[in-house]
Symmetry: C2
Amino acid sequence: MTASAPTPAYRRLSVEERRSQLLEAALSLFAHGAPEDVSLDDVAEAAGVSRPLVYRYFPGGKQQLYEAALRSAAEELQQCFDEPRLGPLLPRLARALDRYLAFVDQHDAGFSALLQGGSVVETSRTTAIVDGVRRAAAEHILSHLGVTEPSLRLRMTVRMWITAVEAASLIWLDEDKQPPVGELRDWLVEQLVAMLSVTGRHDPQTAAVVEAVAADG
Amino acid sequence: MTASAPTPAYRRLSVEERRSQLLEAALSLFAHGAPEDVSLDDVAEAAGVSRPLVYRYFPGGKQQLYEAALRSAAEELQQCFDEPRLGPLLPRLARALDRYLAFVDQHDAGFSALLQGGSVVETSRTTAIVDGVRRAAAEHILSHLGVTEPSLRLRMTVRMWITAVEAASLIWLDEDKQPPVGELRDWLVEQLVAMLSVTGRHDPQTAAVVEAVAADG
């Protein structure tokens, strides 16, 4: 080890890394307290930086930092379902869920706050951010199902499953992350297949999707 | 018709009726605009009463009215699943869903606002109100399933279904109330059975519930 080898705590971060670090610290603070109770001093302290540095990155102050933190978490969450359209469908979905659940696991209270409203959500703008994530996830899934013009029932089923996954994730966090993440993931995939099968009884397009999924496996 | 026969518009309302009328008017206004854009004058106008009358009922002003409106909607919603434990299970559940969907139909934007956060939800207190509704609905359903100490997976499944029902209801409102309410209700009941069946593959308690439901029909 040379004298110049940086220790993790004091390593100089790139602009992007610093920004991410501040967003991460902010999200976690906003997750535990109402925005009005979180100060930029708290964020600076949590990130181990000075208050002026926080202002340099977020000159708009707390509101800007708060929305940026939500937006960054939302973007990350949204990308979970952006899986290459290669190979059988269910393993693809399982990989997407693995990423989603890894996000949930890592962000914990930040994830709850993002989705539940909880103490973080204060404006309809933040609700719109979360709704955008749900919409994007639904589009990814429909595109994996090979559907470009989904029927109403198929769209409803996919959105129902997405909120069911959210509910399961929130309870999972509350329950010390039980069942184990791999079991949770497989169970959620099975739930989607079962929900699609029910819808397939009423909707020919969904029935075709269910058949394709079965043939695919 | 005698001279004293009241016309509906001018009929003297009881305290409870008046209170309900104001809450209803408030919920609908808060559903369409952010609380800060809704004045007590608007509420008085929407309800066809004077502003002092609104203050007489809600001396705490807008915040009190706003929370009371949410709470009243939440209580009504919560009672939907309070169905007598008589007769086969699935028809009971269908009746509960009929009430729930009638509430959704009647309150429309107010329902969306209550659940989605949207422009109505501003504080973690309102989130807690909605979460209380979900919790109560889950308890009602578990008690209909004849379960007093539900396994984690069974609890998760019921909560997943409840949020799925919420998602379906919101989309249903967005989609000009299609499919017809009776079809939506039957479909949602089938979804619950399918979700329970998947969970039953992993959880003996849920498997027993699924068997009981099948034997019951």
